[in-house]
C-alpha cells in the first residue's frame, strides 16, 4: 500500500511519525513501530526522489500520422 504513496504523502506520514515520536508519549513498542514506519516512509521518499529516470520523451500526436 505504502508503495503507492507519493513523495509528499510519504513525507507527511514520516512527519506524523516524527511528531508523535517527538511528543514522546508513545510506549516503547509503539515508538519502535513508529520508527519502523518512519523509516519505511523515509525510504519511500528516498526512492521517490530517485524514481524518475532522467528522460525526455516526445509523444507526438497520433493524428499527425493521419
Amino acid at each position: 500500500m505504502s508503495q503507492d504513496l507519493t513523495y509528499e504523502q510519504a513525507l507527511e506520514k514520516l512527519d506524523e511519525r516524527l511528531k508523535v515520536l517527538e511528543d514522546g508519549n508513545l510506549s516503547l513498542e509503539d515508538a519502535l513501530k513508529a520508527v519502523d514506519e518512519a523509516r519505511v516512509y523515509l525510504k519511500i521518499c528516498t526512492e521517490r526522489l530517485d524514481a524518475a529516470r532522467k528522460k525526455i520523451e516526445v509523444r507526438a500526436e497520433p493524428e499527425t500520422t493521419d
Binding site: 509528499e8 516503547l28 515508538a31 523515509l42 509523444r59 507526438a60 500526436e61 493521419d66
Partner: protein
C-alpha cells in the same frame, strides 16, 4: 421524345459530372462570407459545415491538413470569411466549398463573444480558486504541452532538469496557433490524462497577438483544461490579457522558467529535507533508548537497594529474638525456679523452727513441774496439818490424860469390857491394862473384891 438536334449522344453521368467539375474550376481562391451552421468533425480530421446567408446555403468542407493550418475553426452561428474553391464531388453529386483559410469577420465581435464565454465560465465557477487542482509536490513526470521547437520548450526543459536532474519530461507537441490549435491542445490534454504518464501538465507558448493566442481563449481548450484530472499550469508568455486557459488553469505562470520552477521542486532541497528528518528520527531513537536505559538502570538500582534491607531488618529482629531467648533459656528457667525453691526451703525451715519454738516455749511457760511440786507440797502440808489436828483432838478426847496422872484402865482381854470391879473378872482371865503410856497384858492371879 428528344429532338434530332438534341439527339446527340447523351452524357454519361460521369461525363456530366466531370463537365460540371470543369465548369466550376474558375471558382477558385474565392472569398465567401457566411454564417456557419451544422459544424461537424469527420473521422479523418476534416470538418463539414454549412455556410449561409439569409437566402442561400452552400456546404463547406475543410480538409484535415487545412484544418491544422487555419487560424481558427468555424463555429456554428459565427460569421467567417472563408477562402477556398468550389468543387463538385462526382461520386456523390455534391457541391462543396472547399475551405483552405478562415478569418474572423469581426474582431470586436469576437472579443465580445470571449467576454461572454468568460462570464459563462465564471458563472459555472470555473475560475473559482477552490476548484483549482493542487500541483503535485514532486511529480513523477512532467508533461509539456507546447510547440516541440523553439525557446519555450528549451527553457522549460532546462529549468526542470536543473532543479531536478533526473526528472522525466514527456513532451506532447501541440499546435499553439492556427485554427487547429484548440483541437490539438484539447486532444493532447485528453491524451495526457488518458496515458497518465505525467503528474502535471505545463501548457506553454511564447506569447503573441490576440489572434495568435486565440486557441487559448476557446471554449474547447477551456473545457479540456477543466476536464483534466491532472493539474494544468499555463505559461503562455507575456501578454497583458489573461487567456481563458490561464483563468481555468490550476496555476498561471508568465514564463517557462517560472513554470518549470513551479512544477518541480529543487531536488537538493528535498535531499536536505530528508536528511533533516533522518537526523531527527535518529536523534529521537537514540534519546528514547538512552532514556529507557536510564529508567531501567534506576529501577535496577532501586531493586538492588531494597534487597539488603529485606534481609537486614529481619536479621536484626532475629538477633533480638535470639538474645531474648538466651535470656529466657532453659538454664534461666531452671535457675529462676531454683531460686523460688530456695526461698521456700528457707520459709519451711523457719516455719518449722518457729513452730517448734512455739510449742517449746508454750510448754516452758506452764512451769508444769514447779506447779506440780508446789501443789503436791501444799497437798501434803494440808494433810499433815489435818492429821496433827485430829491427833490433838484424839488425845484430848481419850482417857489417856487421866492415865497420865497414874490411873489405869483394865479391860477384859476377850470382851474388852472395862473391869470396873474386881468381881467383874476371874482368875486366869486375861486382861489388858491401859497405862499413861503403853499397855500391859496381864493374867488375873487374884481377885480382891
Amino acid at each position: 421524345m428528344l429532338k434530332p438536334e438534341e439527339a446527340q449522344r447523351p452524357y454519361t453521368v460521369t461525363e456530366l459530372a466531370n463537365e460540371i467539375k470543369r465548369e466550376l474550376r474558375p471558382l477558385t481562391a474565392l472569398l465567401v462570407k457566411g454564417e456557419v451552421s451544422g459544424m461537424k468533425r469527420g473521422a479523418k480530421g476534416h470538418y463539414s459545415f454549412a455556410i449561409r446567408d439569409n437566402l442561400s446555403l452552400i456546404n463547406g468542407f475543410l480538409y484535415a491538413d487545412d484544418a491544422r493550418r487555419v487560424t481558427t475553426l468555424p463555429e456554428d452561428g459565427q460569421v467567417f470569411i472563408f477562402r477556398g474553391r468550389v468543387d463538385f464531388w462526382t461520386q456523390y453529386g455534391a457541391l462543396r466549398f472547399i475551405v483552405d483559410q478562415i478569418e474572423f469577420d469581426d474582431i470586436g465581435k469576437l472579443r465580445a463573444r470571449l467576454e461572454e464565454l468568460k462570464r459563462r465560465l465564471e458563472a459555472e465557477g470555473a475560475f473559482a480558486p477552490e476548484r483549482k487542482r493542487r500541483l503535485p509536490f514532486l511529480p513523477r513526470a512532467v508533461a509539456l504541452l507546447t510547440s516541440p521547437t523553439g525557446a519555450v520548450i528549451h527553457d522549460l526543459q532546462e529549468t526542470i532538469l536543473e532543479r531536478y536532474p533526473n526528472m522525466t519530461i514527456i513532451v506532447y507537441p501541440v499546435l499553439v496557433q492556427g485554427a487547429a490549435a484548440p483541437m490539438s491542445v484539447a486532444r493532447a490534454l485528453r491524451r495526457c490524462n488518458q496515458e497518465g504518464a505525467a503528474d502535471v501538465i505545463v501548457l506553454a507558448r511564447g506569447g503573441g497577438s490576440f489572434e495568435e493566442m486565440y486557441a487559448f481563449n476557446t471554449e474547447l481548450v477551456a473545457r479540456a483544461i477543466l476536464d483534466s484530472r491532472l493539474p494544468v499550469v499555463t505559461a503562455l508568455g507575456h501578454t497583458s490579457d489573461r487567456t481563458v486557459a490561464d483563468l481555468v488553469g490550476d496555476a498561471e505562470c508568465r514564463t517557462p522558467t517560472e513554470a518549470g520552477a513551479r512544477v518541480v521542486p529543487k531536488k537538493s532541497d528535498l535531499i536536505a529535507q530528508l536528511r533533516e528528518r533522518k537526523r531527527r528520527l535518529d536523534r529521537e531513537i537514540a534519546q528514547r533508548v538512552s532514556r529507557e536505559t536510564e529508567r531501567i538502570d534506576l529501577k535496577r538500582r532501586r531493586l538492588l537497594q531494597v534487597l539488603p534491607a529485606l534481609v537486614r531488618h529481619r536479621m536484626e529482629r532475629l538477633t533480638r529474638a535470639a538474645a531474648e531467648l538466651g535470656r529466657l533459656s532453659p538454664v534461666a528457667q531452671v535457675a529462676r525456679r531454683e531460686e523460688a525453691l530456695r526461698d521456700r526451703r528457707r520459709r519451711l525451715d523457719s516455719a518449722a523452727v518457729s513452730r517448734l519454738a512455739n510449742s517449746t516455749s508454750s510448754l516452758a511457760a506452764r512451769r508444769a513441774q514447779d506447779r506440780l511440786d508446789r501443789a503436791l507440797a501444799e497437798r501434803f502440808a494440808v494433810a499433815t496439818r489435818a492429821l496433827a489436828h485430829r491427833e490433838q483432838r484424839l488425845v484430848a478426847l481419850s482417857p489417856d490424860g487421866v492415865l497420865a496422872r497414874g490411873y489405869s484402865i483394865t479391860q477384859d482381854a476377850a470382851s474388852g469390857d472395862v473391869i470396873r470391879s474386881a468381881a467383874a473378872t476371874g482368875v486366869d482371865r486375861r486382861v489388858r491394862i491401859r497405862l499413861g503410856s503403853g499397855r500391859l497384858g496381864a493374867r488375873v492371879e487374884e481377885i480382891e473384891p
